[in-house]
Symmetry: C2
Amino acid sequence: MRGAEQHGTALGQVLELADLMNDDMTQSLAREGLTVARANLLWELHHRGPCTQGVLAQALGVSPRNITGLVDGLVATCFVTREPHPTDRRATLVSFTEQGGRTVSQMAEGHRQLADLLFSGVSDTQFEGLVEGLGAVLARLREEVSEVNGGRP
Amino acid sequence: MRGAEQHGTALGQVLELADLMNDDMTQSLAREGLTVARANLLWELHHRGPCTQGVLAQALGVSPRNITGLVDGLVATCFVTREPHPTDRRATLVSFTEQGGRTVSQMAEGHRQLADLLFSGVSDTQFEGLVEGLGAVLARLREEVSEVNGGRP
DNA sequence: TATTGTTATACTCTATAACTATA
DNA sequence: TATAGTTATAGAGTATAACAATA
C-alpha cells in the first residue's frame, strides 16, 4: 500500500507543475505585451465572441471594476475595442481588434506547441496513466475548491 | 498513435490543475491571514531556519525590495521578527515568532491532508502512471522555463 | 427600482533606481 | 568600493462602496 510519503512526493510534483506552468505562461505572454489576467480575458472573449463586461466579470469570477481595468489596458494596447451595445445603452460590447484576433490565434497555436513539447516524450502507457490520474485528482480538487465557496460560483 | 487532440485535452487538465491549486491555496491561506507570497516566504524560512532578507530574495527569486514588503507584512501580523545579525550590522535575521512557527507546522499538516484528499481515490495503477507522467512533463517544463532565462536563475 | 459600468479608495505583489549604513 | 536593506516611485491585479446613466 502507498504511504504518506508517496502522496507527499506527488503533491510536490503537482505544486511544482502549477508553479512552472504559471512561470511559462507569464514569460511567453510578456513577449506579446500581455499579462496572464488580460490573456484570460482574451481567451474568454475568443470562446464567447463579443460580449459585455458584465458577462466577462461573471465568466472570469472577478469584480466588474476589475474588468473595467483589464479592458482599459487591452484597449490601450489595441487588443480589443469597446463598442456600443445595440439594444442596451448602459452596456458596452467588448470585441477583438484585428491585432487581438491575430494574437488569440497565435495563443491557440502556442497551446498546441506547448502540448506537444510537454507530452511528446511521454510513452503511451505513461500518458494514459497521467490523463486518468489527472482526471481523478481534478475531480477531487474541484469539489474541494467549490465546497469552500458554499457552492456559489 | 496519439494525436494533437489528446495532447490538447491533457494540457487543458494541466492548466485547470494549476488554476485550481492556486485557488485552493489562496482560499486556505486567507483563512489564516496569509497570502500565497507571504506563505512562500514562511515556507522557505521553515526549510532554511533564520536567515537574512538577501538570502530570501535569492531563494524566492524576487527583488530585495519585495522582501522588505513581505517581511513588513509578516512582522505586522506577528508571523516573523527582524533580529539584528550577530556579525553584520547591515543585515537583519528573519525568524519565526511562536505563532509563525505554529502556523508553518499547520501548513505542513495541511499539506499532508491535501495530499491524502487528492490521491486517496486514485488507484495504485493510476497513481503510478500519474507520478511517472508528471515526472516526464516536469522535466520538459523545467527546461522550457529555464531556457528562456538563458540558464540564469 | 434594478442593472451596467464608472469613479473613488485601498491593499498586495512586483520592479527599478537612488540612498544610507555598514563592511 | 561593494553589500544589505531602505525610501521613492510606478504599475498591475484585486476588492468594496458610492454614483451615474439607463432599463
